[in-house]
């Protein structure tokens, strides 16, 4: 297909580099330097989508981020699909594949269009609320229908192969926007030696100057841009980010930028390169030079393809060498837009008429139009466009002075393009992200940034300073202000001379009246993307919505990816008129991040796949892997779960591990236990305050179990703490609770008891810990040490320093299995050496490695709790039947003492932890099952507590379980029932949780 709308020369495209791309399955050609939008227009593609509610054909309206219609699905393969790409922001590259996100099944001949035509009245504002609220059960059906119709694009079904990453940036000044204001600011800041970041959404710097015919110092403005870019690139401390959308402005001058690295020139990033980078910027000062968006006027059928914003037409002509039609009607309320007619005319195409709402327009551009012999119809408006898939003509009518009534006969004229301009809206979105309310400026008929508490400056069109001369000057002065605040010295910046332009006064005009009332007139669109019309806003006002925030939510104006870039001001003006208010009285909704949609890839960055979350390994991890262990996540630790052999099932492996440990000896890698070194003369006192039990008399060389509670008296961690020396202790914590416990100790030390002389240091990673457990564990240890580990020299709950397998070790005779156990701790760099040495000598004892699951079973046979499994933050030590671990007699209080004596904590019938012995020994209760006392009670049955731990015990040849039962400690021998989802009811007897060796004889040998 030929590029029928392409000019022979001009623009910033390279006609020697033709690029082939595919749009909705058809191949087209564009040039390097095109956007997808300019290439589509060059090829005469009029319809690029269907509107979401009425399914009307839509064309390209704008040329930048504000484009509401050309929202594309881009991607040549399933894995590289990107939804919601604005065609106006996507650089063209060879092989680009794009499609409309909506238009179902095809944009040119749409099924829903029939519904839309018939059903316009059936989908009024408040549509969701009115239609889809009831019946609630139907919502899922409605939702899929709406989503399909809503043109939201789709996520890829395959993994995206590209790399998206994040980078942290810091600077003195970040400048958002590289138009004349931004470039002048950057130059000023850079020359002063400031650290500068300048970011712009477009593929090259220059902003409005790239699409303007304006001269600076008598030369094309682009030459000045090139000079500035060249100079900026010579500064080490200036980071220039083209193709980078500043999408969020957050508190404390933290900004987020989505940089398109390779996706502006390739479907898939060349090997190793980053497709998109998300910059997280912390800036001392922010200069917003974000420019302005031209407002289209609201008139009948203003969404027919061919209706465009005036400046966008100029941009396509001047920057891309594309004239998107043959016969132009320009409607304007201001002088500036005359440039579009001049550009169109100068490109050799026909300007049918300039329709100016003002009675007596004057100024430089008006004169220029007259010189060219262009017909100007003053005091008039285009009240309606004609055509369906492309504009075929317009109805023009004279307007009254206020611009709110048609006062004369309609003239019909043929045209294929209607450009309109109602003036310019400063791009204040980012300034609103931090909560700043914009303020109305009557001189420029737009909102400008209001009071901010950020270190924020603004320059150029965002302030309503629309001329290039003003923009350049404000850029310099904003940067100078920033430099003053930073204590830096400004150097000279000589600005180029812009052309002098005389501008006549613009007219405040937003909504062009029709001969019919708005509700009966052809649809007058305010927000194209959300299909919000002038009559819809009027209806909302009539239905009693007086706050603009409510009007927005009722009509969906400015919702979603659009964020009201084109339509909001017009919508507010229409609401204001209905409510008989001024625009500032009506106020504005504010804008939220993100300014344009951000890909999930950019948000996720590299925190995906293998790097999603840290995996923490012990020093013996490689051995576990080699041995074929299955792993379990415990916090971020990868702990061996069990070690299957051959074709063993999990239960078979567990049975084998459990039996081997109780019959001979098993070994557990317990390195993940939290370990905290505690030193100082008040260490002992400190322990007494954070644990529930007594520590004053623990002798050197001894270990003791302790429970830790919160202020509320509820257990949150437990572990064994050993006395290494009079003022020196080693505390152990649960694997998952280590960091929390260390913080807990520090917080209490620093805020409550700073007078205590004690220091805490984490040694979790420093010690490798391996527990050998079982009747043969002593024999095994004796093979590796000369130390006397007999019962006489090393009793239960003793610890001793000794050498194991040639490595200095601290060995603790503590047990979580109820068996004779030795917990061997060595410096972690030697953990693997000792572990392997144990296996070298362990064969004769059938030394069996076991994982966390066997550990859980063995401890459950003994009724030992696991904090976090058998506790949930709502149980105190007495609920656990662990009154033996609480000392109410300590001279100083302990954390949780008061909490556990509250009225609710001492009442009758609290849930208490008990053993649960199923009547059928083979029945294993599911953990989490709820108990009831009467299985025949009507539903909802009164529940008495849930099962916390439950396993098959190979050693006991029956199930073992623990759980909470209301008043359970006084119900020994009574029955409790567990009705299950599958209809079974498991009956259990309430018993002591100690199923094995109640006297503790096995560990005390």
């Amino acid at each position: 297909m030929t590029q029928k709308n392409r000019l022979q020369d001009g623009g910033r495209i390279d006609r020697s580099k033709a690029l082939t791309f595919t749009y909705n399955g058809k191949k087209y050609t564009g040039f390097e330097g095109d956007t997808l939008a300019s290439a589509l227009l060059a090829n005469g593609v009029d319809i690029i989508g269907r509107s979401f509610k009425y399914s009307r054909p839509r064309g390209i309206v704008a040329a930048g981020a504000e484009e509401p219609n050309a929202i594309m699905q881009v991607g040549a393969t399933e894995a590289t699909q990107i939804p919601n790409v604005r065609a106006t922001q996507q650089s063209l590259y060879g092989g680009l594949v794009a499609g409309s996100t909506n238009g179902w099944p095809s944009v040119d001949n749409d099924m829903m269009g029939l519904v839309g035509k018939v059903g316009g009245k059936m989908m009024p504002p408040g549509f969701y609320y009115k239609t889809f609220m009831y019946p609630k059960s139907m919502w899922e059906t409605y939702e899929s229908f709406i989503r399909k119709a809503a043109g939201l694009g789709r996520a890829p079904k395959e993994n995206d192969p590209d790399i998206y990453d994040k980078m942290n940036q810091h600077c003195d000044v970040i400048i958002v926007g590289a138009g004349p204001a931004g470039l002048a600011a950057a130059l000023t800041a850079a020359r002063a030696g400031a650290r500068v970041i300048i970011a712009d959404e477009q593929n090259e710097f220059g902003g409005s100057l790239l699409s303007s015919t304006e001269l600076l110092d008598g030369k094309p403005a682009a030459e000045w841009v090139a000079d500035v870019v060249k100079e900026l690139s010579t500064y080490d401390d200036v980071l220039m980010l083209p193709n980078s959308q500043v999408n969020g402005y957050h508190d404390h001058n933290f900004l987020t930028i989505q940089q398109h690295c390779t996706d502006q020139f390739a479907d898939r990033a060349p090997n190793g390169q980053v497709a998109q980078r998300y910059h997280r910027v912390r800036a001392k000062w922010v200069v917003l030079a974000t420019g302005a968006h031209e407002r289209p006027l609201v008139y009948g059928n203003n969404d027919v393809p061919g209706c465009m914003v005036a400046n966008a037409v100029s941009t396509y002509i001047n920057r891309y060498g594309v004239v998107p039609g043959k016969n132009l009607v320009l409607m304007t309320s201001n002088n500036n837009a005359y440039r579009t007619a001049l550009d169109w005319h100068d490109a050799g195409r026909n300007v049918v008429a300039i329709v100016d709402s003002r009675k007596n327009p004057q100024g430089t551009f008006v004169d220029a139009a007259r010189e060219r012999g262009i017909s100007i119809m003053v005091g008039s408006g285009v009240i309606e466009a004609h055509g369906s898939k492309r504009v075929t003509g317009v109805s023009i009518a004279p307007l009254n002075d206020a611009g709110d009534a048609v006062v004369g006969p309609i003239i019909k004229m043929a045209a294929d393009t209607v450009a309109s301009s109602g003036g310019w809206s400063p791009v204040i979105h980012l300034s609103c992200h931090t909560g700043s309310r914009p303020v109305w400026n009557d001189d420029i008929l737009g909102f400008v940034p209001g009071t901010t508490y950020q270190k924020q400056l603004t320059a150029g069109a965002i302030n309503g300073s629309f001329t290039t001369e003003q923009a350049l000057a404000e850029g310099v002065s904003a940067a100078a202000d920033a430099l003053t605040h930073l204590g830096m010295t400004k150097k000279d910046v000589v600005l180029p001379k812009a052309e002098t332009i005389e501008e006549g006064k613009a007219m405040a005009l937003f909504h062009i009246p029709h001969t019919k009332p708005t509700s009966k007139a052809p649809k007058q669109f305010v927000d194209y993307q959300n299909d919000v019309t002038a009559s819809g806003i009027e209806l909302a006002c009539r239905e009693g919505f007086e706050s603009i925030e409510h009007v927005k939510r009722y009509t969906a104006m400015g919702f979603g990816t659009d964020q009201g870039k084109l339509g909001n001001i017009n919508g507010m003006a229409i609401a204001a008129k209905m409510l008989n208010q001024t625009i500032p009285q009506t106020g504005t909704t504010i804008f939220r991040p993100n300014y344009t949609p951000v890909t999930f890839g950019a948000i996720a960055g590299r925190d995906c796949g293998a790097l999603f979350d840290p995996e923490r390994y012990t020093a013996m991890h490689a051995w576990h892997v080699e041995r074929g262990a299955k792993f379990e996540d415990v916090g971020q630790w990868k702990r061996p779960w069990y070690y299957p052999q051959g074709n063993e099932t999990m239960q078979q492996a567990l049975d084998r591990e459990c039996l081997a440990t109780r019959k001979s000896v098993g070994i557990l890698d317990a390195s993940t236990l939290g370990k905290i070194d505690i030193q100082g003369k008040d260490a002992r006192e400190f322990l007494g305050r954070v644990y529930t039990n007594a520590w004053a008399k623990l002798p050197v060389g001894k270990c003791r179990y302790g429970l830790m509670c919160g202020e509320d008296g509820m257990v949150f961690d437990d572990g064994v703490t050993s006395c290494l020396a009079e003022n020196h202790f080693l505390m152990t914590t649960t694997s998952g609770g280590a960091a929390r416990v260390l913080s807990w100790l520090e917080i209490y030390h620093q805020t409550e008891w700073p007078e205590l002389e004690v220091f805490f240091t984490s040694v979790t990673d420093h010690w490798s810990t391996m527990t050998i457990s079982g009747p043969n564990s002593r024999k095994l240890l004796e093979k590796l040490t000369d130390y006397d580990v007999s019962k006489e020299n090393m009793a239960f709950m003793d610890w001793k320093p000794m050498t194991v397998a040639g490595v200095p070790a601290r060995v603790f005779r503590i047990s979580f299995t109820g068996e004779l156990s030795f917990e061997i701790n060595v410096q972690a760099n030697y953990g693997m050496h000792v572990w392997k040495a144990l296996f070298e000598h362990g064969e004769e004892f059938n030394l069996t490695p076991y994982g966390t699951e066997t550990m859980h079973i063995l401890r459950a046979e003994k009724g030992f709790i696991i904090a976090g499994q058998d506790t949930d933050g709502s149980v105190h030590p007495f609920d656990l039947g662990m009154s033996w671990a609480v000392s109410m007699q300590k001279p100083f209080s302990f954390i949780g003492k008061r909490g556990m004596q509250r009225e609710d904590c001492v009442r009758e019938n609290r849930k208490q932890l008990v053993g649960l012995k199923t009547i059928d020994p083979k029945a294993v209760l599911p953990e989490g099952a709820q108990g009831v006392l009467d299985p025949k009670a009507p539903i909802p049955m009164p529940m008495v507590g849930h099962v916390t731990s439950s396993y098959w015990s190979a050693n006991l040849n029956r199930s073992v379980a623990m759980g909470f039962v209301k008043g359970g400690l006084d119900k020994m021998g009574e029955r409790v029932f567990y009705p299950l989802a599958d209809g079974r009811v498991i009956e259990a007897e309430i018993c002591s949780p100690v199923f094995l060796d109640p006297k503790g004889e096995r560990q005390n040998v």
Binding site: N168, Q679, H766
Partner: protein, 215 residues
């Protein structure tokens, strides 16, 4: 046992075996020696595990007397200015917090230092050997700052992060202590259990610049 001192106040024990038993650093499994032999020799980021060092955590609110004791024990004054460090041929001292310092010596010297502190230091302090739980990544090269910028929110510009500065901060989803050793060289002190994750992260973040592993 002569290697063990159980006294009334603190326990100081020798933790290293005789030299014939070789320790395994946290990246032992990555076999960096062969990676360095077979991998690229040129690139934007260089990586080296400075392994099996002696690392100790000193916690103290030092009195004037303790300050001078520490200076004579370490052969260098304790850096009291936040986020600063002292590096000599024999010892590196990193400020961690107002009452905490990281001391790095040769691996076999840790116990010796602990013993000397125990013998002559007075007042309240703790000195804890964390050598087994910690390793050091030296990262360097022309693109090292870009790799670090992907990993940590700290400002690394020379004006804000001069040579010698130390920051304990977030690094990817873990934490490290970063010290700038030279213009293009940084020391990352990492915890053993996170070492593999951080090594994977650094490989990934360096990919576009080219990563060179040095044995």
């Amino acid at each position: 046992m002569s290697d063990v001192t159980v006294a009334e106040s603190k326990l100081v024990t020798k933790q290293l075996p005789e030299a014939d038993i070789v320790g395994e650093s946290p990246l032992h499994h990555a076999d960096l020696a062969s990676v360095s032999q077979h991998g690229p020799k040129e690139g934007g980021v260089y990586f080296h595990e400075r392994k099996l060092q002696g690392l100790l955590t000193l916690r103290c609110v030092p009195s004037a007397e303790q300050l001078s004791q520490i200076e004579s024990l370490l052969g260098a004054a304790l850096p009291m200015e936040p986020l600063t460090s002292v590096t000599t041929d024999a010892v590196s001292i990193r400020w961690i917090s107002p009452d905490e310092w990281l001391i790095i010596v040769a691996g076999e010297q840790a116990f010796d230092l602990e013993t000397r502190f125990y013998e002559s230091m007075t007042g309240h302090y703790s000195l804890v050997n964390i050598s087994g739980g910690t390793t050091i990544f030296d990262v360097s090269g022309s693109q090292v700052v870009n790799m670090l910028k992907k990993s940590t929110p700290v400002d690394l510009h020379p004006r804000e992060f001069p040579v010698g500065k130390v920051v304990s901060t977030v690094f990817a989803k873990s934490g490290v202590t970063i010290c700038r050793l030279e213009d293009d060289k940084y020391e990352l002190v990492v915890r053993r259990s996170f070492a593999d994750y951080l090594w994977l992260w650094i490989q990934d973040a360096s990919r576009e610049y080219g990563l060179v592993v040095k044995a």
